[in-house]
Amino acid sequence: MTDSESNLAFTLNRFRPVLLTLAEAMISPALRSDLEASDLVQQTLMEAHCNAEQLVLMNSAVVFSWLRSALQHNMLDAIKHLRTQKNDIRRRLRTSEIEASWSRLEMMLVDEQTSPSEVLQRNEQLCLMLSALQTLPDNQRTSLIMKHLRGLSLKEVAEAMQLSESAAAGLLHRGRQRLAHCLEEPGHD
């Protein structure tokens, strides 16, 4: 394996948990039974490996952008596929919702009104957090994604996870403690 190829493998490996968290956050609870975030990410990374020749020439920010766009396509394709199977009108609505979410996410990540250095720094922090979320136990991660990435209230989180509100609050707090620990001491895990 050449240097640039191993670099690419390292970059893809680094972005895997980030993409996973993004996919998990994007997929609404109603679709969770039909769509598997890890499958979508796996498919995306495989496509990246197939396009390695093209990707080795890019820096990590461009690779990340390529991966996001591939993940978006895969996710939308998967939802469309579900729709043809079940022909559910609500799914059609969700496709446009997810498309809008992706475009807003892209706008946020490539903010033209903010200076490039600032964008880079903020995206770096964001990636660190999204990737650290994957080191958390499943229930803590799910609760944090619902609470902080999907903006659900404690009550809604508790309902979705079929827990009492106090149990959900404990879960969230412990999840945050652990996440903060990962962020404050990177490499600990």
């Binding site: 994007m26 903020r122 957090m129 902080h148 106090s166 620990h181």
Partner: protein, 542 residues
């Protein structure tokens, strides 16, 4: 993997307390910790520790996750407000989106401005709440002030965490748009800024500061050309956005700053750079900082440059703004003084100075037809008629002919003035003054002719030179008088004519030639000088 530190604080609060803290964090009222949680915890110290820990972690993750959450959940569609029917988005600024809406009950077109939540993502929720509080307070105060140059605010509110307000829908363009499309004539700018300054003064008298005066916030109504100022209380939101977007570390390339900071008084800019920037700015804002922004807006609109350039290169301003009327430049310089004590002490004073400049006499620029006639017809006529007088004097011609030729010199002059009446945009007062002053000149000349004839009886060789001396003196007085309302250079021409009047006594036999040449030269100088002034006026009004 949890560190001992985290475990201990987690033990400090049970799940029920955590749920309460979680709910408080969601509602945003962290300061009022429910008393029950105090009772349930063994010691107050541990409770406080747990609260602090929860607060820190919640905010840390919230702040990091906010951009993604807003991308996933944010909705740029107009907020659903029961009393309004949303029509279309009409503008999008750094901090807010403006929609044109229809008030359902009143069937009236309003504009609503909604703060974009994604712009608040990087700011701590605490600061956002403080900003919202101040925003609402100032808008409510501003809504009390009714002024024809202030966009009336109708309602203030918050929907889904997005502060919004509704105001009159103004059909027109902003001063910034006009500025971007090319320079405006100084007179137009001064009229707009005088009205805006008076409006700002009115709100100042009600104890409200605008805080964000800039060309972007001044609208010109299309039908009436009425300038209106808008966006009260938005200063902090805008500043917050601009500080993030523009990064203004001290000594940076300041001319790149386009938004609010460029129009901000130096003391505010200094405060904004402090660690607790926004709070500092709120404390330092004053009437004088608004006066600075008024001056910056005036300067930026007149010159098309960023006010930052003014601040950076004050010395070079004089040379670079060459064509800027000096009086306006002085107003800009005073209002944009680094030291607030040197600025106009109120928006009223700023407006008064502008009004003074606007009411200055400036008629000489509006006689375009006159200029060419003056040097093409009047000048040669005067030269020729006086040469004829000189010739007739030498040939000792009849007195009647000499006086006839002398007074014939007024004919082309009055013919030209008559011609100017057909030029519709010559102001009436200017025309009246022109006629009365030169008719006065002719009457004075006639009166001196009569008195000299009575005094010197038949001695034509002394009478004519004496008349020319008096005639030149009258001309000198007339030109001097004109310097007040017309072109200031008339003063110097008037002085020259006094000199000519005196020199005529030294060479009496040459006085007609002297007078004729001086009159012709005067006509040419006035025509040329006038032309240069008018060209300037035309260039600027384009």
């Amino acid at each position: 993997m949890t560190s001992p530190h985290f475990r201990s604080s987690s033990d400090g609060a049970d799940d029920e307390t955590l749920a309460q803290l979680e709910r408080l964090a969601e509602s945003g009222s962290r300061s009022e910790l429910a008393p029950s949680s105090r009772r349930e915890n063994r010691t107050e110290g541990r409770t406080l520790e747990a609260v602090a820990e929860h607060y820190r972690l919640y905010n840390l993750i919230e702040l990091l996750a906010a951009p993604v959450r807003l991308a996933l959940a944010a909705d740029d569609s107009p907020p659903q407000l029961p009393e309004y029917e949303s029509l279309e988005e009409i503008g999008r600024g750094g901090m807010g989106v403006v929609y044109r809406v229809l008030h359902r009950k009143l069937q009236r077109l309003d504009a609503i401005k909604v703060i974009r939540p994604d712009r608040l993502a990087d700011i701590s929720p605490e600061s956002v709440r403080q900003m919202q509080y101040r925003f609402e307070r100032e808008l409510r105060l501003a809504a009390y002030v009714a002024h024809e140059n202030i966009v009336p605010v109708y309602h203030v509110g918050e929907v889904d965490g997005r502060p919004w307000f509704s105001m009159q829908f103004v059909e027109g363009v902003s001063l910034q748009d006009l500025r971007a499309n090319g320079l405006l004539a100084p007179d137009q700018v001064a009229v707009v800024m005088e009205k805006i300054a008076r409006a700002v003064n009115t709100v100042h008298r009600h104890g409200v500061l605008h805080g964000d005066i800039k060309p972007h916030n001044i609208l010109i109504e299309r039908e009436t050309n009425r300038p209106l100022i808008t966006d009260f209380g938005l200063a902090e939101f805008d500043l917050c956005f601009d500080l993030q977007a523009d990064e203004i570390p001290a000594g940076s390339a300041a001319e790149n700053i386009a938004g609010t900071p460029a129009y901000m008084a130096p003391e505010l800019l200094h405060a904004a750079m402090q660690p607790a920037g926004l709070r500092e700015v709120a404390l330092v804002r004053s009437v004088l900082s608004d006066v600075y922004s008024l001056g910056a807006t005036l300067w930026a609109t007149l010159t098309g440059r960023s006010p930052m350039e003014f601040r950076d290169a004050q010395v070079a301003v004089n040379s670079r703004s060459g064509k800027l009327p000096p009086a306006l430049l002085r107003i800009c310089q005073r209002s944009m003084s680094e030291n607030p004590a040197l600025r106009h002490q109120s928006a009223q004073e700023f407006a008064d100075e502008l009004a003074q400049w606007l009411n200055r006499p400036r008629w000489n620029q509006y006689f375009p037809g006159l200029r060419n006639l003056l040097w093409m017809i009047v000048a040669p006529c005067l030269l020729i008629s006086n040469l004829i007088v000189w010739k007739l004097m030498h040939e000792q011609a009849a007195e009647f002919w000499i006086w006839s030729i002398i007074f014939a010199g007024y004919v082309p002059l009055f013919a030209v003035f008559f011609r100017s009446q057909r030029i519709h945009f010559v102001s009436d007062s200017a025309r009246r003054e022109l006629w009365s002053i030169w008719i006065g000149h002719a009457i004075g000349a006639a009166a001196s002719m009569i008195s000299l004839r009575l005094l010197l009886a038949q001695d034509l060789s002394r009478m004519i030179p004496a008349f020319y001396g008096v005639w030149a003196a009258i001309t000198s007085v007339v030109l001097f008088a004109k310097s007040g309302n017309f072109w200031t250079a008339y003063r110097w021409i008037g002085i020259a004519w006094s000199g000519i009047a005196v020199s005529m006594a030294l060479m009496p036999e040459k006085s007609p030639i002297l007078f004729g040449s001086a009159a012709a030269i005067t006509c040419i100088v006035i025509a040329r000088g006038d032309q240069a002034l008018a060209a300037d006026a035309q260039r600027l009004s384009r």
